[in-house]
Structures are given as structure tokens and as C-alpha cells.
């Protein structure tokens, strides 16, 4: 929290001076002339802008109704502004943070009191209410825990460096954005836009001065963000933004992993989407039901020129990290989140069906579970495919690979039929002990056929076949002719006498 505001302070300090702008511009040109100076450029100049844009961006994303907290935080902001240059751990900032947390805990306390008080009054649907209350408290507690962790995180040695200090502040900025930022904005603008909470664009001065031509781009970017499209990280792979034409923002690990980014200023409940928060706010009073309060906050400021924002992964050495030689920025916060979780986090979600596939993004797991078990297209190499055309593409590509026929089919189709039925056939028609009564026997080992030459005779000879055949009549469940035996015997003697013809044509 302190860090974030410190950055804002930094920003405020630099912006009026105009120094950073000149500086930026020179760096900018330098960058164009000599790409090798990229790292220098990004480390020295970029953080303030990055931080700045991040804040503006979160602000634009979130509708923050923070009026309650604003007065409370004004003082601390001013304090912070003075101490903003300090890069190391700042006890006063920490104190600030803790006092904020204390306040939140008090709020939660009040809420619980309120719940206890209401309990007697509410008549209908007590269960439902209880659940809601429980959810509220849980959400509040979660947000407090997260904030506590991130405050403690600022004490870690790794974040004591200049650069990461700035980015840590960003992380917190994103996390508390909805809650805290407007107050600092007010501090920044010093009453220019005093009560225009939430929707106010803090970033006017730098943007209007610097990059105006990217307005259109920025617009489209906003649309994407607002709809929270599941942008794949690689989606912007083809995008060829020249370095320097966009701002690089870097969220901190904690912020990326935070479950919620939007918090209700009244009850503290966390939300993943601002729209959901806005819907939630309606329950807190009539004033939140106005079209203005319910409208998307970015719409009103859409005409103002903005700068393209791209995101950097906080993981050092990652291709998505801005320090990487072939840095490829991420397009949206969602991209950052998914990228970070997928690439740098443990895959803690395991598919319950197959118990093999692991995911770090729960949405990926859900997508997988939809198709898990449907991978019936199997290649001889062991690879499975959910779609036949994918399997066939694979087979086309790799020499010698063939589709595998599932093994359960072996038992089902031929053996199953032959086991049952052919056995019957054998028992009905072939009484020779040597006859191979079941096909499965033959299948298991072609060499394992009992007996000697007689077997083959029994198998092939029409005479012995027919003999058994008619002998087998006795075994029929319903022998219709009682006196049939004699007549058949007579017939057989004739048919035996019938000269055997050669079997060729």
C-alpha cells in the first residue's frame, strides 16, 4: 500500500516538473536509434509511467465508490508523498498499512455485529441469509489476509530493489485499487476532480502530452479488457508494436495470484469482476442504483487520449518479462494472470477423472474435464486424441504410426461371439472329441490342437462331419421325430456311398 502510494507520489512529483517527460522523450529517441539501450530505458524511466498507467487502468476498470475512505486516507497520502523517495522499507508506510488493515478488521467487526443484531428481525429464509452472511465475512477475511500477506511481502529482501519496489507497489495497487486508489488520486489532483470517484482519469497530463495517436488502439484494448475475453497469452504474438510505443506494466506475483481484484467498500466482499461488484453494490442502497453508478466507468472518459498498455510478467528470465531480450508483452491483465499461473505456478488442480492431467488455471481444468475420457482416438504410439481428424493428422505426419483399436473391443467382438455361440455350434454339430470346440482356443495357440491326423479328417471330411451332424440330433432340445434315427441311418448309408468327387473346379 505504501509503496503504491509512494509511486503515485513519485509520479505526482515528476509530472509537474516536466522533467520526466523530457527525459522520457530523449530516452525514447535514444531507444529508436539504438535498441541496445532498451534495458536502461525500461529500468530507469519506465517504472513511474508503468505504475501510473497501471493505476489509471485499474481505475478505469473498476468503479470505485470509496468516498467513505477518502478522508481517512488523505493524510496518509500526504505523508507518503513526502517520504516517497525512500526506496527501502518505510516504517511509517508500514504503519499506514497496518492501520488500514485495522480499520478493515473493525469494519468486519461491525458487520458481524450487524448480523447478530439482525438475526432476530429477519423472518423469511434464514438459511439463505446465513449463507450470505457467512460469504460476506469470509470474503472480508480473505481480503484482509491477502492484504496482510502482501504487506509482509514488501518486507522481503527481493523486493528491496528499486525496480521491484515500484512494481510491488503496482501489485498492491491492483489489489487494493478499488479501495485505495481514488484517495490517492484525489491527493494527486489536489481537488481538480474532487469527488469524481472511480471513473476519473488521473492520467490526463502525461497522456495528453505524450502519446495521443494511440487513442484508437487504446479504445479497442479497453473493450477487450472490459469483456474479460480469455485472451491467450500468445494471441498478441503477431502484434508488432514497436518498443516504446506502448507502456509496460508489471503486476506483482501476489496481485496476480489474488483471488479477487474488486472489493466492496462497504462490506469488503471481493469480486473478480467490476461488473459483479457494481451489481453487488445495488444491495447497499438506492444511491448505487442510479444509471451513473451502474454504468461502465470507462465510457465517459473514452474520448480522452490514452496510451497502449502492455504487461510484463514479474518472473525474471521469462520471455514475458520485460528484461528478456526477446520480450513479448502480454496484452491484458487476464493474460498476465493466466500466463503466470500456467508457467510459473504449481499445477495444483488435478483432473479427477484421469488423475494424470494437472492444471494451474481452474478454467483449464474445467475445459479438460469436459473432454476427459473422450480421448477415444488412440495412436499406436500411445498418444490420444479427442478428435478423429487430429489423430489422422498425426498419422499423416508420422511415418509408421497407425490408429490403435481399443483392446476392449477385442474381447467384445469376435471372442465374445465365438465363445458363446461357437461352443454351442460345436456341441450341437461336432461330437468328435478332437474337434476344436471353441475358436478362442485356436486363437490362443494355433499349435495347441489336440490329437493327430484324425483331427483334420474329422474337421474336413464331409462324411464324419455329417455323421456327427446327425448324431447330434439327439442333443437337440426338442427332437421332433422319434423314429427319425432309422430313416437317417438309411440316408446316411446312401450318402456315404456317394462317390467323393474331387473338390476342385
Amino acid at each position: 500500500m505504501d509503496l503504491k502510494e509512494r509511486v503515485c507520489g513519485e509520479l505526482q512529483k515528476e509530472v509537474p516538473k516536466g522533467a520526466s517527460f523530457t527525459n522520457f522523450n530523449t530516452q525514447h529517441q535514444q531507444k529508436w536509434e539504438d535498441p541496445s539501450s532498451t534495458s536502461d530505458y525500461s529500468t530507469r524511466i519506465e517504472p513511474p509511467f508503468q505504475a501510473f498507467n497501471q493505476t489509471s487502468q485499474t481505475q478505469s476498470l473498476l468503479l470505485c465508490n470509496n468516498q467513505i475512505k477518502v478522508p481517512m486516507q488523505d493524510g496518509s497520502v500526504n505523508d507518503l508523498l513526502q517520504a516517497s523517495k525512500i526506496q527501502d522499507w518505510d516504517p511509517s508506510a508500514m504503519l499506514n498499512n497496518l492501520s488500514f488493515l485495522g480499520q478493515k478488521i473493525h469494519q468486519l467487526q461491525d458487520l458481524v455485529y450487524l448480523i447478530i443484531g439482525r438475526k432476530g428481525q429477519v423472518l423469511g429464509g434464514p438459511d439463505e441469509l446465513l449463507v450470505q452472511q457467512q460469504q460476506l465475512v469470509t470474503a472480508d477475511l480473505t481480503s484482509i489476509i491477502v492484504q496482510l500477506i502482501s504487506t509482509a511481502g514488501s518486507l522481503l529482501p527481493s523486493v528491496k530493489q528499486t525496480l521491484s519496489a515500484a512494481t510491488t507497489s503496482l501489485g498492491q495497487c491492483g489489489e487494493f485499487g478499488g479501495v485505495v486508489f481514488p484517495s490517492s488520486a484525489q491527493g494527486l489532483n489536489d481537488g481538480v476532480q474532487p469527488q469524481n470517484a472511480g471513473g476519473s482519469k488521473v492520467s490526463e497530463p502525461p497522456n495528453s502530452v505524450d502519446i495521443t495517436s494511440n487513442n484508437g488502439n487504446e479504445q479497442s484494448n479497453h473493450i477487450i479488457e472490459e469483456h474479460e475475453l480469455k485472451d491467450e497469452e500468445d494471441a498478441e504474438e503477431g502484434e508488432n508494436l514497436l518498443p516504446g510505443t506502448y507502456e509496460i506494466l508489471q503486476l506483482e506475483k501476489e496481485e496476480i495470484l489474488a483471488p479477487h481484484t474488486h472489493f466492496c467498500t462497504i462490506c469488503g466482499k471481493g469480486f473478480k469482476r467490476d461488473a459483479n461488484l457494481r451489481m453487488h453494490m445495488r444491495g447497499h442502497g438506492e444511491e448505487y442504483k442510479t444509471p451513473g453508478a451502474l454504468a461502465k466507468p470507462t465510457k465517459e472518459s473514452s474520448s480522452e487520449p490514452t496510451i497502449i498498455k502492455r504487461y510484463s510478467c514479474p518472473y525474471a528470465g521469462c520471455k514475458r518479462n520485460k528484461d528478456h531480450k526477446k520480450f513479448q508483452p502480454l496484452k491484458t491483465i487476464l493474460c498476465v494472470k493466466n500466463h503466470y499461473k500456467r508457467t510459473h505456478c504449481d499445477k495444483s488442480y488435478i483432473c479427477s477423472r484421469c488423475n494424470t492431467k494437472k492444471f494451474s488455471v481452474i478454467a483449464d481444468l474445467k475445459t479438460h474435464e469436459k473432454h476427459c475420457g473422450k480421448d477415444k482416438w488412440l495412436c499406436s504410439c500411445g498418444t490420444t486424441f479427442s478428435r478423429k481428424d487430429k489423430l489422422f493428422g498425426h498419422i499423416t505426419l508420422f511415418q509408421g504410426h497407425t490408429p490403435a483399436i481399443p483392446s476392449d473391443e477385442i474381447k467384445a467382438a469376435p471372442a465374445g461371439t465365438s465363445d458363446g455361440a461357437t461352443n454351442k455350434v460345436g456341441s450341437v454339430n461336432f461330437n468328435l472329441s478332437s474337434y476344436v470346440s471353441s475358436e478362442s482356443e485356436v486363437q490362443s495357440s494355433s499349435m495347441d490342437i489336440k490329437g493327430g491326423i484324425d483331427d483334420a479328417v474329422g474337421y474336413f471330411s464331409p462324411l464324419s462331419f455329417d455323421t456327427c451332424n446327425f448324431g447330434g440330433f439327439h442333443e437337440f432340445p426338442r427332437p421332433p421325430f422319434d423314429d427319425s434315427e432309422s430313416s437317417f441311418a438309411f440316408l446316411l448309408s446312401r450318402s456315404c456311398n456317394y462317390s467323393q468327387k474331387s473338390g476342385e473346379e
Binding site: K388, T402, I405, A413, P414, A421, T422, V428, E439, D466
Partner: protein, 654 residues
């Protein structure tokens, strides 16, 4: 009888000369006579024999031992072949086999015909495929139960070049992929009626088997995507697309640009194909030899005709069912001079003048199909006879205006004529047959519904056309016993005879039929005069009888059927519907005829359910197809139905 001198001369012939003589004997009966001459000749037969078609499986082990140099084995007539038989054959060959090497016969085998071997399953098939290292050609057509496992088994025959999988109904893309990957040398593949096949399988096939020269995907529900894949086959010469409902002109557009070696294309009965699609094909393939487009064109359009001018090598064209104008004939005859076969069956607009123009230039014509071209008369036939001296086959079914004059011309000029279809030509009379009998090469004569012919006319045929092997006398009510007598005296080679509804034929006539030793197919529906005596004569005399249809022969008694059961050991198909056969006789027929594969047993008034059940039990190991009275479905025991199903038998309920 050979004199002493000549027999000495014969024996002085060296072995290789005898082998040469033997190899010149085309007909199986001649070869049989050859090997019966003496031991030495029989030894030559044993050593030289390459092909074996087995009709009685019980002799298979002995035969396989006897002929060690077999290259081609045809087991399509063995209904009882299954995995166990294959296993035994490969384990030891016959009783007293002194050959220590297992399955020695299989080593040199190149061709294997297992058509309709419905008892066989993948394990047997795999044993065969592995035992025959030289296998190049396999035919498993009409093995309806065959699917992916069987295809996988076949794919272990790596050297396979030709494969026929028509009507392997369970085959899917997966099985085809197995074959495509395993048998990459495949040159000829037929997949007719493999209804599960989709574009994916065909696409993979075209990518893996680039040497394909012949591909038949007729009746499949494949789309233009498949044609896109097929177009990439550089060596493809023959492409069969008959009755593919989802293929249209767009697909043929791919063919225009692909398949550079294409020689033959068949798009008959493709509903989506129009003349513009054919224009694509013709435009892309100037060297096309055969264009078969029956029943897919409504009209032979001028645009298509214009493109066809460039097909100078075209030998076969079939445009059955299309409307065609007289000028079109002019264009075809002027440009396609090498035409050998023209199919104009059911074409509209075929006139005498058109035919005259056509044949004026196409003098090499050998096959002409004018079925249902009702307006042609003797003038057209005369023109054909005069121009096309090498005509071999002429089909003029339902051309009512043909009379003895036309046949006279044919008998005078077309002396090479082998096949003529005069079904439903009521202008044909005894005099016409007299003229026609001058065509001594005639082997197939169809006179169905020609009610104006009598015994006299048939006697001309019996006297002159000694090579006839197929004769259709369906509903020739003028034919009686005397005609059959003349026939049996002359046409000793007769293999297929249809006497259905020739009411005059009696037991005496069937007695003459019994003299035809070569007869294998006999259809004699509704001969009300015949009794068991006649049937016995046929059964005793026609030893090769394989297909007998005697539906509605109600007077035939059990004595005839018993004779049938004793003597007609080679019978494969029988139709006994509406016959007065008793339970006992049915059991005897079904049980004793060890080669029987198909039986139609509908409306057997003297039979009980138990009798039918017993009969089915007696034949269930080998029967492949049986047609039964529908209510029996619920009366027969489920056990027998299961057994039949397990053996791959198809039951049709009527």
C-alpha cells in the same frame, strides 16, 4: 482312344513341352481331361498348377499338399472356412503329411480370394497374412462382418498390391488407416459399400498409398473433400465414383487439375454431378479412355459435346438415361474414332438416323447397349451389322420393332457376336432365331418374354450355337420339352439356364436338362407340370448344379428333394419358397448339402416350425444367408438365431 503309336509319341514329349501344352489349355474341363490321361500328365498338372479354386473344403488339405506351387487360392466357395480351419491348414497339411514345414503351401501364395468368408475373423486372417509372405492380392469382398480388426490383420501383409474390401460393412477410417499405413505399396483398392468410410480415411489413404492406380469408392458417403485428396494421386488410372450422393461438380473440378494419369472414370448415378462437372473432367484429361456417366446426365449438352471432341482416344462411353440428339451422334462418331463400347441404355432421342450416323465412323465398335431405345428398328440394326463387323455384344432389350430382318443382317455380318440380349423383343420369331444361329460364336442369348418363339426356333440354336453357355428363356411360353431336347443335344456347354414360367416344360424336359453336365445355374420357377421325377433327373445329371431356383414348383414331391439332397453336392443356393417340401426332406436338403450357402425358405406349406428349426440347425455351420417367413422370427428358438448370427449368417424375414 489313343493308338499305341500316338501314345508313344505323346510320352516322348519332354516335360517342358508338356508344360507348354498344359498352359495353353484355358478351360478347366480340358485341364481335367489332361490330368486324367496318365500319371505323367497328372504330374505335369501337379507341378504346373498355379491356381486353385476349392469348392469342397474337406479336400482342401489334400489339394494343398498335392499342389506345392500354388500362387493363387480361391476359397470363396467354401462356406465353412473359419479361424479354426485356417489354423489347422497352417499347422499341418492334410492327413499323413510328411512335410515337416508348417504351412508350406502358403509360402509362394500371391493371391488369396476369401470373398464371402463370413466365418473368418481377424485372428484367422492375421494367421493367413503372416503365413503368406509373398501375398500381393487379397479379396475379402462381401465379408459383411469385417471391420477394423480384420483390416488391421490384413495390414500385416506388407507386400499387398491389390485389395478388394467391397461391402466390409464394419470397416471405418481407422481400419483403412491401418491398411494405408501397413500396405503402402497398394496399387488397387476397392471400397464399395464400406459405408462407414469418410473423407478422413480417404485423405489418409491418398497420402500414404501414393502408388494407387485403381481406386473404387462407389456408394460411399464421401464428399468433394475426398476428391480433393484423390486428385493428388499421380499414378491413379481408374477412379470409381459410382452413386456417391455427396459428390458434385466442385469435386470433379479438383479432378480436372489432378490425377494426371487418369484413364477411366465412373460417375454413374452420382446425383450431384451434371454435365459441367463432366466438362471439367474431360477438359483436364484428354487421354481419357473410359467415361462412364450413366444416369447422371439429363442431357448430353453441346458444351460437353464440344469438349468431348478432344477425347480422341476414348474407347468406352456410357451416358445411359440421357437425352441425346442426332447431331450429337454425328460429333461423337466424327471425333471419337477409337470407340469400342457405347452405352445408350434408356437414352431418349436415340433414332435410326442417329445410330446410322454413329456407326458410320465407329467401325471398331464391339459393345453396343441400346436397352429400351424403343424407336430403333431393323434399319438401325442393319446399319450396325453392316458397319461394325467386330461386334461382340449387342443389347437391344425392349426394342419391339426389331424383326427377323434385323437378325438376318446380324447373322450375315456379325459373325463374332457372342452376346445378344433380345429380352422383350416381341418381333423375334423362329425365323429370326434361324438367322441368328449363324452367329456360331454366340455364348450368351437372352430371349426372355419372347413369346413368339417355339421349339422350332430353339432347335436352330441348339443345332448351331454350340458354344452357348447362358440361355434365358424366361416366360417363353412357346417353349416345350422338344425344344429342350434339341438344346441338350447341342449346347453341351450350357452353364446357366432360365426356364421360369415356361409352362409347357414337364418332367421329360427336365430329363433333357439332366444331360447338361456343365449346368450350374438353373431357374425354373412355377413349372407346374414337373414332379419329383423331373427334379431327380436334374439332380442326378447336373452334377455341377450350384444355384437352383424352384419357387412355386408345387407339384414336386419329397422324392425329388431327397434326390437333390443326395446328388446335388455342389449346390450353393437354393430357393424352395412355395414348394411342397416336408420337414424331413427339408432337413435332408439343408443338412446333407454341405456346400449350401443361401436358402430361401418362405411359405413352405408342408413344413412345421420344428422342421425349419431342425433344418437350420443342420446347416447352421455353413449357411450364409437365409430367407424365412417373418412370423418365424418369434417361433424359432433364440439359440438357433444366435448361432446363425455368430456364424455371420444374414437372415431376411419376409
Amino acid at each position: 482312344m489313343l493308338s499305341f503309336q500316338s501314345s508313344k509319341n505323346l510320352l516322348s514329349l519332354t516335360e517342358d513341352l508338356l508344360v507348354r501344352i498344359y498352359e495353353l489349355l484355358a478351360a478347366e474341363s480340358d485341364r481335367k481331361s489332361f490330368r486324367l490321361v496318365c500319371r505323367e500328365f497328372r504330374r505335369i498338372d501337379t507341378l504346373t498348377r498355379r491356381h486353385l479354386r476349392v469348392i469342397r473344403i474337406e479336400f482342401l488339405p489334400i489339394l494343398l499338399r498335392k499342389y506345392p506351387r500354388l500362387q493363387s487360392l480361391d476359397l470363396s466357395a467354401c462356406p465353412r472356412i473359419d479361424d479354426g480351419v485356417v489354423s489347422l491348414l497352417l499347422t499341418r497339411v492334410g492327413p499323413g503329411s510328411n512335410s515337416p514345414i508348417l504351412g508350406h503351401w502358403a509360402w509362394g501364395l500371391k493371391s488369396l480370394v476369401l470373398s464371402r468368408a463370413t466365418g473368418l475373423r481377424f485372428s484367422g486372417l492375421e494367421m493367413l497374412a503372416r503365413a503368406c509372405p509373398c501375398l500381393e492380392s487379397v479379396d475379402v469382398s462381401y465379408c459383411c462382418g469385417f471391420g477394423d480388426r480384420e483390416a488391421a490383420a490384413l495390414s500385416s501383409a506388407v507386400g499387398l498390391r491389390e485389395l478388394n474390401m467391397d461391402k466390409c460393412l464394419q470397416l471405418t477410417d481407422v481400419g483403412l488407416a491401418k491398411i494405408a499405413v501397413g500396405c503402402s505399396k497398394l496399387e488397387k483398392l476397392s471400397l464399395k459399400w464400406c459405408m462407414e468410410m469418410t473423407d478422413l480415411g480417404i485423405d489418409l489413404l491418398c497420402k500414404k498409398c501414393v502408388d494407387l492406380k485403381y481406386l473404387d469408392v462407389s456408394y460411399l458417403k464421401v464428399t468433394n473433400e475426398s476428391l480433393h485428396s484423390i486428385a493428388s494421386l499421380l499414378k491413379l488410372e481408374v477412379l470409381g465414383l459410382m452413386a456417391c450422393p455427396l459428390i458434385d461438380d466442385v469435386g470433379l473440378h479438383f479432378i480436372e487439375r489432378g490425377c494426371p494419369s487418369l484413364k477411366v472414370i465412373d460417375v454413374s448415378r452420382c446425383e450431384g454431378v451434371s454435365s459441367s462437372g463432366l466438362i471439367f473432367v474431360v477438359r483436364g484429361h484428354r487421354n481419357l479412355l473410359e467415361l462412364k456417366a450413366g444416369y447422371c446426365l439429363s442431357e448430353l449438352s453441346t458444351a460437353l459435346l464440344h469438349q468431348m471432341k478432344n477425347l480422341n482416344h476414348l474407347e468406352v462411353i456410357r451416358i445411359d438415361g440421357a437425352r441425346i440428339s442426332e447431331t450429337s451422334f454425328q460429333v461423337i462418331s466424327a471425333n471419337c474414332k477409337s470407340l469400342v463400347e457405347i452405352g445408350l441404355s434408356k437414352c431418349l432421342g436415340v433414332t435410326n438416323m442417329g445410330i446410322m450416323r454413329l456407326v458410320s465412323a465407329c467401325i471398331n465398335l464391339r459393345v453396343l447397349n441400346l436397352t429400351c431405345c424403343h424407336s430403333i428398328t431393323d434399319a438401325a440394326i442393319s446399319a450396325i451389322a453392316y458397319s461394325c463387323r467386330s461386334l461382340v455384344c449387342l443389347k437391344v432389350e425392349s426394342c419391339n420393332m426389331i424383326t427377323e430382318k434385323g437378325l438376318c443382317q446380324l447373322g450375315s455380318f456379325c459373325l463374332l457376336l457372342e452376346e445378344i440380349d433380345l429380352t422383350d423383343c416381341c418381333g423375334v420369331n423362329d425365323k429370326g432365331l434361324e438367322y441368328l444361329s449363324r452367329c456360331s460364336e454366340l455364348s450368351c442369348l437372352k430371349l426372355g418374354l419372347c413369346t413368339n418363339i417355339s421349339n422350332k426356333g430353339l432347335s436352330y440354336i441348339g443345332f448351331n450355337c454350340l458354344k452357348i453357355h447362358e440361355l434365358d428363356l424366361y416366360r417363353c411360353t412357346g417353349i416345350g420339352d422338344d425344344g429342350l431336347e434339341a438344346l441338350s443335344n447341342g449346347c453341351k456347354k450350357l452353364r446357366k439356364l432360365n426356364l421360369s414360367y415356361c409352362n409347357e416344360v414337364s418332367d421329360r424336359g427336365l430329363g433333357y436338362i439332366g444331360r447338361l453336365e456343365e449346368l450350374s445355374d438353373l431357374e425354373m420357377r412355377a413349372l407346374h407340370k414337373i414332379t419329383g421325377v423331373g427334379l431327380e433327373a436334374v439332380a442326378v445329371g447336373c452334377k455341377r448344379l450350384a444355384d437352383l431356383d424352384m419357387k412355386h414348383c408345387e407339384k414336386v414331391g419329397d422324392s425329388g428333394f431327397w434326390a437333390l439332397a443326395y446328388y446335388s453336392k455342389n449346390l450353393r443356393q437354393i430357393n424352395l419358397s412355395y414348394c411342397g417340401i416336408s420337414d424331413m426332406a427339408l432337413c435332408m436338403v439343408m443338412g446333407n448339402l454341405s456346400r449350401l450357402q443361401e436358402a430361401k425358405l418362405v411359405h413352405l406349406s408342408n413344413c412345421t416350425v420344428e422342421g425349419v428349426e431342425l433344418a437350420l440347425r443342420a446347416c447352421c455351420v455353413r449357411i450364409k444367408k437365409v430367407k424365412l417367413f417373418a412370423p418365424l422370427r418369434f417361433m424359432l428358438s433364440s439359440e438357433i438365431l444366435e448361432i446363425l448370427h455368430a456364424r455371420g449368417c444374414i437372415i431376411r424375414w419376409d
